[in-house]
Every structure is written in structure tokens, then in C-alpha cells.
């Protein structure tokens, strides 16, 4: 489903170059739910953006369903994101002037699905947002916002969800709801890559890795890519 092969990324800041990713490799199959934990600035979000085709790594390859994400065209990458990947962010990134329904429907802008409305209705129902369907994000609680973002991520039936601190702004109850949804998604055959600094959140994942200074332990360039076939709770 998702393979990262020895990817590295360096940012040049005011204080000199910062190596955000340093030879990271991993592999994620259908049904996998991998949590990557680590402190702020350790490169988790950079890893997620690179995996999602939004940030080209300096070296290494990102393969999604055996397609090298950064060797295909910009258009092809957009389409692949639209059809295959769902994103969930800590800050929700809902479009402020669109209702819950329209926010959930937003991915249909990229694909123009005929059944988008039906699918959006199902997701809104499933995430308990039916009574809020026509509300703006500013009228929602944080939990409702994240559930809206989750519903949006699932509209196009993605096979991979990349979640960046999805529970970071939520209370424990809402955090649990979101993590359960992600676990359900993985259980239904999808793949989830969750980056978080919350150990409790990582508990919902099948596997968990700790990241530090842009490295995943045991995934340096020189070592084989780990196969996530066992729970690795640190």
C-alpha cells in the first residue's frame, strides 16, 4: 500500500540546515494501523506530508500501490491523492465558509463523483453530524469539526489515511471517537499512518514506532525496511 524507501528531507532555516527526515523507511499494507510517536519537531509531520505526496523528499522514494509518487506528473499525483489518500489534521483545516455537508463534499471537486452526495450523507450520519449538516465550522464543537474532517477524508473511499495529530485538540471522549474510527477504517481493509505525540492515541494502532531527530529506530538507510506485521508498542 505505502512504502517509504530511505527518504530524507533537509530544510534550510535561519540557523542553518535542519535534517527533518534522515533515511526513513517503512512499509504499510492494507489493514495496517501504524502510529509514529515523537516529540514536536522530530519530523513526524514532514514524514506524513512526504508520504502524502505533498512534500518531495530530497532522497528516497515514496511508493503508493507500487507507483512512485514523485516520479509521476503533478496531475497524476493530485489524482492519486484524491482517489487513494485521506488526510486528517490536528487543526482540521475545514473550509470556513462551507457547511459541514459541503466540507465533506469538498474532495468531490477533484473527482466529480456522481454518488458524492449520497456518500457524504452516509458519512455525516455515521459520524453523528446529521443535525449539524448545514452548520459552518465556526458553529461546531472541536470534536464535531474533527469528525467532519474525518468524514471528508473518507468521502472518496481512500485506501490510506494519513492522520497528523488528529486528537491533539480534542477532549479524551472525542479523541477516542476519532481513533476508533481510524481503527475501524484499518480493520475494514484500509491503511492508517498516524503521527502523534500522545501515547494514548498510539495505543489504538496495531503498531507504534517512536521517532527522534528525523529517524525511525531500526529503519536507517542501511537496515532493511521493517514489515509492520506485529504490534510494537513502545
Amino acid at each position: 500500500m505505502l512504502i517509504l524507501e530511505n527518504i530524507s528531507k533537509t530544510f534550510v532555516g535561519a540557523d542553518g540546515p535542519v535534517r527533518a527526515l534522515d533515511g526513513v523507511s517503512l512499509k504499510l499494507d492494507r489493514g495496517d494501523f501504524l502510529a509514529i510517536r515523537g516529540p514536536s519537531g522530530c519530523g513526524k509531520s514532514t514524514l506524513l506530508l512526504s508520504a502524502g505526496g505533498l512534500l518531495r523528499p530530497d532522497t528516497g522514494r515514496v511508493l503508493i500501490e507500487n507507483q512512485d509518487l514523485y516520479s509521476i506528473s503533478h496531475e497524476g499525483r493530485c489524482r492519486l491523492r484524491a482517489t487513494t489518500i485521506g488526510f486528517v489534521f490536528q487543526r482540521f483545516h475545514l473550509v470556513p465558509y462551507l457547511s459541514v455537508l459541503d466540507n465533506v463534499l469538498a474532495p468531490s471537486l477533484a473527482l466529480g463523483r456522481n454518488d458524492a452526495h449520497r456518500r457524504a450523507g452516509e458519512l455525516i450520519e455515521r459520524f453523528g453530524l446529521a443535525s449539524r449538516m448545514h452548520h459552518l465550522p465556526s458553529q461546531l464543537s472541536t470534536g464535531e469539526r474533527q469528525r467532519t474532517a474525518l468524514a471528508r477524508a473518507m468521502l472518496n473511499n481512500p485506501r490510506l489515511i494519513l492522520a497528523d495529530e488528529p486528537t491533539g485538540n480534542l477532549d479524551p471522549d472525542n479523541g477516542t471517537i476519532v481513533l476508533k474510527c481510524l481503527a475501524d477504517f484499518a480493520a475494514s481493509g484500509g491503511a492508517v499512518l498516524l503521527v502523534t505525540h500522545d501515547p494514548d492515541a498510539a495505543n489504538f494502532a496495531k503498531q507504534s514506532l517512536s521517532m527522534a531527530a528525523g529517524r525511525l529506530p531500526g529503519t536507517a538507510a542501511e537496515v532493511p525496511v521493517p514489515r509492520m506485521d506485529t504490534n510494537v508498542h513502545e
Binding site: T83, R91, P107, L109, A153
Partner: protein, 421 residues
């Protein structure tokens, strides 16, 4: 969901941004249309003044010519064609010419169809003694056959056409004879029926008996002869009319000479002509003044309109840039979920185009209405070409202005945008 919904919802959400952009288009289009309409109205009013002045001037000239004609007719003939051997001094001294000409000279003038003379009337005149009343009078035989030198207009003759045996008496002779119309009078042994009288003119006509040319030729024993051709020089040939007549007559009758003996009508005509010329000059001065103002307004408009359009473009560019900056997170997430950068570009450009269309429609009406109100007119004219120009030009301008910030927004790195938030 369609992109159009995204655009409309965003406009509803950020009304101020859209309103400010639209307002700038309204101001730009309104100013441009208003200025152009004002210029058009100024030109139109100038043209109306030109037409009014021209009509007034032409009317004055027509009135002048008509009055001149009437005066000419009222005063009688104003020129006489004599044989070139006739002494003008003798003519003035005796009031009649002594040198005869052929009667057909009159016909020659008429056949030449000259436009410079009217009322061509061959006459045979002589001072005679009317023994019955013991008075010297002038006998004038006239042939009123050639009403017009060459034109086709039939005018009322200065002299009444008389048949043989008919007579018209001057005012003094009417008083002297006490005759009434229809009375029979004897002159040089011939009987005449009085056909009418000429009103007093304080000239020799007052003591003239008018008969047919044939009668006069018989009475004076000069068959086929005349000693003068009275005529009225044309009324619309200007001050140089007499020279024209002289030139044209000389071409037909080289043995003729022309004596102009009535100056009053000419003097009046010249005075009126001068007044008309002064009126015309004053009008032209005003027209030139208005045309100068029009040129200055056009020059001003040629500077102002581009300035306003550039300012409007810069303002829209700034608003689009500001809008794109505010929507960083939105652009980032849309890109993340697969929306292409060209679609993002379309969102910004379509919004700018919408500003252009709405601004053009409102600005056009505002420009036309304000221009009409400022000019104190009523009824707004819809210039279709300007409307089309506005509805096409304003969106194009807005899209061009928005294109640079829109391209920058579309090309922004989604990873950076998502991290920034």
C-alpha cells in the same frame, strides 16, 4: 460539489473583499463611461448649437434675400440695359435713352437663361406732351414677357402685362386726369382703357403712362425698337451681383451697357448681409470655444481613464493577493485532497471575473445616469457598444489584474500552507 458553489459561498462569506473589488470596478467603469458620455453629450450639444446657428444664419440670409426681392419689386427695377452708344449722362439728364436697340435683345437675354437677372422687361420710353392736360409725361411701352432671366421660378411681375389699348397711369397722372379704372382716355390721338394705377413713388414713374410695347412703338413710329431693358438683378448673388450681371450680359449682348440706378435695396441688403455675417462669426466663435473645451475634456479623459483603470487593476490585484493569503489553509487542504492547482487558479480568476461583470453592469448604469444628471438631461440612453465593451473589458481587466496573485496562490506549496497554519 462544483467549483462555482465554492466561489459563491466564499463570496458570501467574505463579502467585504468582493464588495471592495466590485466597487473599484464600478468606480473605474462608471468614471470611464461617465466621462465618455459627458464628452459625447458635449459633442452632441455642440453639434446642436452648430445646427441651430447654421439654421439661424441661413434663415437670416433667406429672410434678407426675400426682403431684398420684395424691396426690389416694390421699388421697381434696379437696373437698365442700354445700347452702349447711349450717353449715360444724357440718360440721366433726360430720364430716357435716345439710342434704340432691337426689340429681340430682351428675348436674347431670356433665352440665355441667366440666373443673375430677373424681370427682364424691354421698354420703349419717350418724354411726350399730353396736350389734353398740358403736361409733359413719360410714355413707356413695356413688354412683360420675360419674367425670369433664366430660372424656372415664376414670380409676380413688377409691371402688369398690358394688351394693346390698355393703359396704367402713374400716381400723379391719376390725380391729374381724375381717371378711374375702366375710364377711356386719349393720348397722342389713340384711345386707351385705364387698367390701373401705380402707387406714388416720388420718381418719374409718378408721371408715366404705361402702355403695351406694341402701342408705344406705333405711337412713336419706332416699330421693332426699344431703348431700354429694365431688369432686377438677382437677389442672392451678394455684393458682386452687379459685376456678375455685367459680365453675363456682355457675353450675350456685346453692344449693351448696364446702368444700376437703384442703390437703396442693395445698401439694405448689404447691411443685412453684414449683420448675418457677424451673427455667423459670433456663432462660430462660440462653437470654436466649445470645441476647444471638448478637446481639453478629451485630453483629460485620455489621461484620467487609463489612470483609473490602472488603479482599479492594482486594487484588484491587491485584494486578490490579500484574499489568497487569507485562504492559505484552505488552498493547502484543497490541494491535499486532490484539487488541482489549475482549479485553484480558476477559483480566484472566476471570482475576479465576477467582480468585473457585476462592477461593469452597475458601473455602466451609474456612469450613464450620473453623466445625464450632471448635464441636467433626462432619459438615460443605452449605448449598446459601450455596454458590451464594459461587460467584456471589465472582467478581462479584473482577470488580468488578479492573474499574478492567483497564479502565485495556485502554485503555493501545500505542505508549507498546511504547516503554516
Amino acid at each position: 460539489m462544483r467549483i462555482s458553489r465554492l466561489i459563491l459561498q466564499e463570496i458570501r462569506y467574505r463579502k467585504l473583499n468582493f464588495a471592495l473589488g466590485t466597487l473599484s470596478v464600478i468606480v473605474a467603469v462608471g468614471s470611464a463611461v461617465g466621462l465618455l458620455a459627458a464628452l459625447r453629450q458635449h459633442d452632441s450639444q455642440t453639434q446642436k448649437i452648430i445646427n441651430r446657428r447654421r439654421e439661424a444664419s441661413e434663415g437670416l440670409m433667406r429672410q434678407n434675400e426675400e426682403e431684398y426681392r420684395k424691396i426690389g419689386v416694390a421699388m421697381g427695377f434696379n437696373m437698365v440695359i442700354l445700347h452702349k452708344d447711349q450717353s449715360v449722362a444724357d440718360f440721366y439728364a433726360n430720364n430716357v435713352a435716345g439710342t434704340d436697340m432691337d426689340e429681340n435683345w430682351g428675348k436674347k437675354i431670356a433665352d440665355a437663361k441667366l440666373t443673375s437677372v430677373n424681370h427682364v422687361t424691354p421698354v420703349l420710353q419717350k418724354r411726350i406732351r399730353w396736350e389734353q392736360y398740358n403736361r409733359d409725361i413719360f410714355l413707356t411701352g413695356a413688354k412683360v414677357a420675360y419674367m425670369q432671366g433664366g430660372g424656372s421660378i415664376i414670380r409676380k411681375p413688377i409691371l402688369q402685362q398690358l394688351s394693346p389699348g390698355e393703359m396704367i397711369l402713374g400716381h400723379e397722372l391719376q390725380r391729374l386726369t381724375g381717371a378711374k379704372e375702366g375710364d377711356r382716355l386719349s393720348l397722342l390721338g389713340r384711345q386707351f382703357t385705364v387698367k390701373g394705377f401705380k402707387p406714388g413713388g416720388y420718381n418719374k414713374d409718378d408721371v408715366t403712362a404705361w402702355v403695351s410695347l406694341a402701342d408705344a412703338q406705333e405711337m412713336l413710329g419706332r416699330p421693332g425698337k426699344i431703348n431700354g431693358i429694365f431688369a432686377l438683378e438677382c437677389t442672392n448673388c451678394g455684393p458682386e451681383a452687379f459685376e456678375i450681371v455685367r459680365r453675363e450680359i456682355a457675353a450675350i449682348l456685346p453692344d449693351a451697357q448696364i446702368v444700376e440706378f437703384t442703390q437703396l435695396a442693395t445698401a439694405r441688403s448689404n447691411a443685412r448681409r453684414q449683420a448675418a455675417a457677424m451673427t455667423k462669426a459670433a456663432g462660430e466663435q462660440e462653437i470654436q470655444h466649445r470645441q476647444r473645451i471638448g478637446q481639453e475634456q478629451r485630453r483629460l479623459a485620455s489621461i484620467l481613464i487609463p489612470l483609473i483603470l490602472v488603479a482599479c487593476g492594482l486594487w484588484i490585484a491587491f485584494l486578490t493577493f490579500s484574499n489568497a493569503r487569507d485562504r492559505g489553509s484552505e488552498i493547502g487542504i484543497l490541494r491535499a485532497i486532490g484539487v488541482r492547482s489549475v482549479q485553484i487558479l480558476g477559483v480566484f480568476l472566476a471570482k475576479a471575473a465576477l467582480m468585473g461583470i457585476v462592477g461593469a453592469a452597475v458601473g455602466y448604469m451609474a456612469g450613464m445616469v450620473s453623466s445625464t444628471l450632471l448635464r441636467g438631461g433626462s432619459g438615460v440612453l443605452i449605448e449598446r457598444d459601450w455596454l458590451i465593451c464594459s461587460l467584456v473589458g471589465a472582467p478581462v481587466l479584473a482577470v488580468l489584474a488578479a492573474s499574478a496573485p492567483a497564479i502565485l496562490a495556485a502554485l503555493r506549496d501545500p505542505a508549507v500552507l498546511l504547516r503554516e497554519d
